[in-house]
């Protein structure tokens, strides 16, 4: 990845009059951390990075940034928001366009073909984080941990993030500007995580998820980090009617997670943010990926590929599967 080229493009974009800021990543404050970074002017681009640690999905911020009331007589700021997107992130943007969460004219999409991201936890297990912010690079197929003395090559298979192992769309599906050459998509691995659970009996599956959901502290980071969970007034927070009680216990946690996963069925782009941010390590991605798999295999539909697509749950085909119906 030629960072200079990225920074040059970013500088051009943020210098445009019709662009408010560009959302990218910068090196974090320690270890393998990377922070989302809002670049407001060309001077800020020097801190921009794109590395195998830039796993987070910045499309989340398109709907997260609050729209404050506009004082009477004033106009809202209608400048565009620019953001860097990997393949999976771009699918979130496409899905947002489908459901009018953002409008095409409100954004400038800078596409970054993505050779795959590192799972920070896997990396830290082998090479513990330190108080210094580490630098990681792509090195052919593998990754390179840039050391103070010598660099360390880390084989791809050891630390590649699960979502990247399963990735079918490493190149952005839409962008206004693309930086870097398209990468050659690799053969997506089988979703062993989902398959493992499917292989269990019903009771065993229940026990598995009971343990998982019991851990939930309902911090809502899964909801917050998801680029497609953006209702300003989530039904799961509502008091009238109450779908899920605020109380934290297995019953409510389960209802919460079922509802969350269901609302993403046919919409989830498998960016993995929910699972990544969960402090309790609940494998939420499996729930979403299971449904995404059903949608893909039984309905031949993959969300987030076509910004003009019909929303999955708001459409039907006369010959949709119905073998389950009596």
């Amino acid at each position: 990845m030629d960072l200079n080229q990225l920074r040059k493009v970013a500088a051009e974009v943020v210098s445009r009059d019709d662009v408010k800021y560009l959302i990218g990543w910068r090196r974090g404050t320690f270890g393998y951390r990377v922070a989302p970074y809002f670049v407001e002017d060309a001077a800020g681009v020097d801190e921009l990075i794109f590395s195998p640690l830039c796993i987070s999905n910045l499309a989340t911020y398109l709907t997260l940034v609050e729209k404050l009331p506009v004082p009477r007589g004033q106009e809202p700021d209608k400048r565009k928001v620019a953001l860097l997107v990997k393949g999976c992130d771009s699918r979130a943007v496409a899905q947002l366009l489908v459901e009018k969460g953002v409008k095409r004219e409100e954004i400038v999409v800078v596409g970054l073909p993505c050779p795959g991201m590192i799972d920070r936890d896997l990396l830290a297990e082998k090479y513990p984080e330190t108080d210094k912010a580490a630098e990681l690079r792509w090195n052919g197929e593998d990754f390179l941990l840039v050391g103070e003395g010598e660099d360390i090559v880390i084989p791809r298979a050891e630390v590649l993030a699960e979502k990247c192992r399963l990735c079918r769309h490493p190149n952005p599906v839409l962008s206004d500007i693309t930086v870097g050459e398209p990468v050659k998509p690799w053969a997506a691995a089988d979703d062993s995580g989902v398959a493992e659970i499917e292989a269990k009996g019903a009771a065993e599956r229940w026990d598995y998820w009971e343990e998982q959901f019991s851990k939930c502290v309902r911090c809502y980071s899964c909801k917050s980090a998801c680029p497609l969970c953006y209702c300003e007034d989530c039904i799961l927070d509502r008091l009238d009617p109450i779908w899920v009680n605020r109380a934290v216990n297995f019953s409510e946690n389960t209802a919460f997670h079922l509802a969350r996963a269901f609302h993403l069925a046919g919409r989830c782009v498998e960016c993995g943010e929910c699972e990544r941010v969960c402090p309790a390590g609940i494998p939420l991605g499996k729930l979403n990926r299971k449904l995404a798999q059903t949608v893909r295999e039984e309905y031949g539909f993959e969300p987030g590929l076509d910004p003009e697509a019909e929303p999955f749950q708001a459409s039907y085909k006369p010959d949709d599967p119905e073998e389950f119906i009596l």
């Binding site: 989902v194 659970i197 499917e198 269990k200 019903a202 009771a203 065993e204 599956r205 229940w206 026990d207 598995y208 998820w209 009971e210 779908w243 009680n245 109380a247 216990n249 297995f250 019953s251 409510e252 389960t254 209802a255 079922l258 509802a259 996963a261 269901f262 069925a265 046919g266 729930l287 299971k290 449904l291 059903t294 949608v295 039984e298 309905y299 999955f312 749950q313 708001a314 459409s315 039907y316 085909k317 006369p318 949709d320 599967p321 119905e322 389950f324 119906i325 009596l326």
Partner: protein, 143 residues
């Protein structure tokens, strides 16, 4: 226990086909188990799939949803949406280990009083086999 167990089943029926079919079963004095309690909605498309989750949480051992046969929806398309949504929910429930026998969906027309009986019997049989669903009860939460 299973001999004693009388499952509690909540059913969501569309007004035009299955609810009418259930009425017809009544008019025809077709006897079936009393475990299924019906909530009338105008169309199976009205059934928010999260109702199923909610019903299981609030005390149902099984949930049954029934509407018009494909192509017969009083509102033209509602049952097609219901079919797609509830299939996804069914997959999700199964994946999380909810016994698939707790959820049934059927097409029963206004003239199929007998089919309604069969569907009820199947749902009851299934729920009995699945057993009480106490693990997920909101009510079971203590202090």
């Amino acid at each position: 226990m299973s001999e004693q167990f009388k499952p509690n089943i909540v059913a969501f029926l569309c007004n035009w086909c299955t609810y009418a079919g259930a009425d017809l079963a009544g008019t025809s004095r077709i006897q079936y188990p009393a475990n299924v309690k019906i909530i009338r909605v105008m169309c199976s498309g009205r059934v928010n799939p999260l109702y199923v989750v909610n019903a299981l949480q609030q005390g149902a051992d099984g949930v049954l949803i029934s509407g018009c046969h494909p192509g017969d929806c009083h509102y033209m398309e509602g049952n097609f949406y219901a079919r797609r949504r509830l299939k996804l929910l069914k997959e999700l429930l199964e994946f999380t280990g909810v016994d698939p026998r707790r959820f049934n969906m059927s097409w029963v027309s206004a003239s199929e009083g007998h089919k309604w009986k069969e569907v009820v019997e199947k749902a009851v049989e299934d729920a009995i086999a699945a057993g009480p669903f106490d693990q997920f009860r909101r009510r079971q939460i203590g202090w």
